[in-house]
């Protein structure tokens, strides 16, 4: 049992290097269980890399990482990711891919179900309920590649609901969506956090579509955290041109 004061994520002096470029430079971050943190910064500032370090798909060159009480190494990172819901930008999918929206949503439980275990009828049931929750149950049997970007992001959120994670990571989920879809996705993410109370990291560079209910905002610039505070304190200090 965790309480709100327990750290869900702890990054201590984390540095990530790609080629000769320092992408994250001695980053420190502590997120309590249940916190909703928005991470803002310009393209290339290191926001996505920070999320990748948290879910164990990128290993830091130096520093310590603890997520849900574990260190996400290359070998055990996949076990950690069973408890981490991740929604990225809407990718391009081949419309001829032989997979439906419902089959993608049910994959949210695959990691937790474990190897050699079959998909159970209750998993399909849960996937259908999640699709209804995000408002796209009518798309269940459509090929994944045939739906719009906004619908794809809703299906990704439904997949995360099926996964029932303790930690939610959103990597610019509203990118390349139209204005209406952007605000709908942000509201949906706020609603998920409100109902699940899962610790949430939400990355964006778009200040027009920030979640209203976030607890903290982190401002990243050139791989370093330059600001950390409540939205009403931090946002007025950030010059829009910096994004």
């Amino acid at each position: 049992m965790t309480c709100a004061s327990d750290p869900c994520i702890e990054l201590h002096n984390v540095t990530v290097v790609r080629g000769h470029r320092v992408v994250l430079n001695h980053v420190n971050l502590r997120a309590r269980c249940g916190e909703f943190i928005v991470i803002i910064g310009a393209n290339g500032a290191g926001k996505t890399t920070l999320l990748q370090v948290v879910n164990g798909t990128v290993q830091p060159a130096s520093g310590q990482v603890s997520v849900l009480g574990k260190s996400p190494s290359f070998l055990n990172g996949y076990k950690l990711r069973r408890n981490v819901g991740f929604v990225a930008q809407a990718p391009h999918f081949d419309p001829r891919l032989p997979v439906t929206v419902l089959e993608t949503v049910v994959s949210g439980c695959f990691g937790k179900r474990g190897l050699f275990r079959r998909i159970r009828p209750e998993d399909w049931q849960k996937a259908r309920q999640a699709l209804a929750w995000v408002g796209i149950s009518h798309l269940a049997d459509r090929p994944l590649g045939s739906i719009s970007g906004g619908e794809f992001q809703r299906s990704a959120i439904a997949r995360v609901l099926v996964q029932e994670p303790a930690l939610l990571l959103f990597d610019e989920p509203t990118n390349s969506l139209d204005v209406r879809a952007k605000s709908e996705i942000v509201k949906l993410i706020e609603r998920i956090h409100g109902e699940t109370r899962a610790t949430t990291l939400y990355v964006t560079h778009d200040l027009k579509y920030l979640p209203d209910r976030c607890d903290r905002i982190l401002f990243i610039q050139k791989g370093e955290i330059c600001g950390d505070g409540r939205p009403e304190e931090l946002l007025p200090k950030i010059v829009v041109q910096e994004l």
């Binding site: 798909t57 997979v99 937790k112 009828p121 209804a132």
Partner: protein, 287 residues
């Protein structure tokens, strides 16, 4: 026709090779890595020729070469910042060069080595059938045991990684097993022809369904149909068996392409509901 025991053996070999190559084709076609199949086939071809030269079992040497090729492509693509297809092309050129080098250096008769070009389904013996049946059984067991992981990795690898599936392990398992399937089927189908039996049935099945479960079933079915109809045509028209099998598999693909419901535009995709049965389960609000 089946009063000849060699034809019965050929039909059984066709059954096993058709199922396993058809399923391997799904692994490669769905991941858009069809050229990996060419590369693995030619690596196996080079390995088998080396095995014949060094008087070791060609199936073993072909398997080693095929598996090595499957493992080399990923790191080569990463290190060289190349697309997997370019990396496969480099390995392909190396293995085809090695195959001809081994052929050139081989002393004495090269008849057995040259027969690997077009295979010998009509000379399938009990050892071939045993190996092929073992590999086919293994293929079905792997698909059954790892079905949900395979579906996730084949269709949306980034999502598979995100939900905590050991995607790299599953992907390499599929590539290694594809390499074994190709190496074992090489003597029967031939180094130049096996690629067609791997890719054509899967590509034909891909035209006809939006469900990956049916993709596996149709691909295996088309693989078996290719070998059996090819054998039939070869027997009655007195044509080379390997070439007949390949041409039949291509004809099956052409027919599938012609009748494919995927020829419709995206805006017409709603009627797909009519050809795909919905899953069971009610849509209720999540509590």
């Amino acid at each position: 026709m089946f009063s000849h025991s060699f034809l019965l053996n050929a039909a059984l070999a066709g059954l096993f090779a058709g199922i396993s190559c058809g399923i391997a084709g799904v692994f490669l076609v769905t991941t858009h890595l069809s050229f990996l199949g060419v590369c693995i086939a030619h690596a196996g071809f080079a390995g088998a020729i080396l095995g014949i030269w060094l008087k070791i079992d060609p199936v073993i040497s072909a398997s080693v070469f095929s598996i090595a090729a499957a493992f080399a492509i990923g790191p080569l693509a990463d290190k060289g910042e190349l697309s997997p297809d370019t990396a496969a092309g480099i390995i392909f050129s190396l293995t085809i060069g090695l195959a001809f080098l081994f052929l050139g250096l081989m002393p004495g008769s090269r008849g057995e080595a040259l027969s690997l070009f077009w295979g010998g389904i009509l000379t399938a013996n009990s050892k071939d059938l045993l190996l092929l049946s073992f590999v086919t059984l293994g293929t079905l067991v792997i698909v059954a045991l790892f079905y949900k992981e395979i579906v996730a990795v084949l269709c949306h690898r980034s999502i598979a990684v995100a939900v905590g599936i050991p995607a790299v392990f599953v992907l390499y398992l599929l590539f290694v097993w594809s390499a074994i399937i190709i190496a074992v089927s090489l003597r029967i189908v031939g180094g130049l022809l096996i690629y067609s039996l791997v890719v054509n049935p899967a590509a034909a099945a891909f035209q006809l369904t939006y469900r990956i479960k049916y993709l596996f079933i149709l691909s295996a079915l088309f693989g078996v149909l290719s070998t059996w109809v090819g054998l039939f045509v070869s027997y009655f028209l007195d044509l080379p068996a390997g070439a007949s099998i390949v041409i039949v598999s291509t004809v099956i693909f052409a027919v599938a392409l012609f009748i494919s419901p995927k020829r419709k535009t995206i805006s017409d995709l709603d009627p797909v509901r009519e050809i795909l049965p919905p899953h069971n389960g009610d849509s209720k609000e999540l509590k």
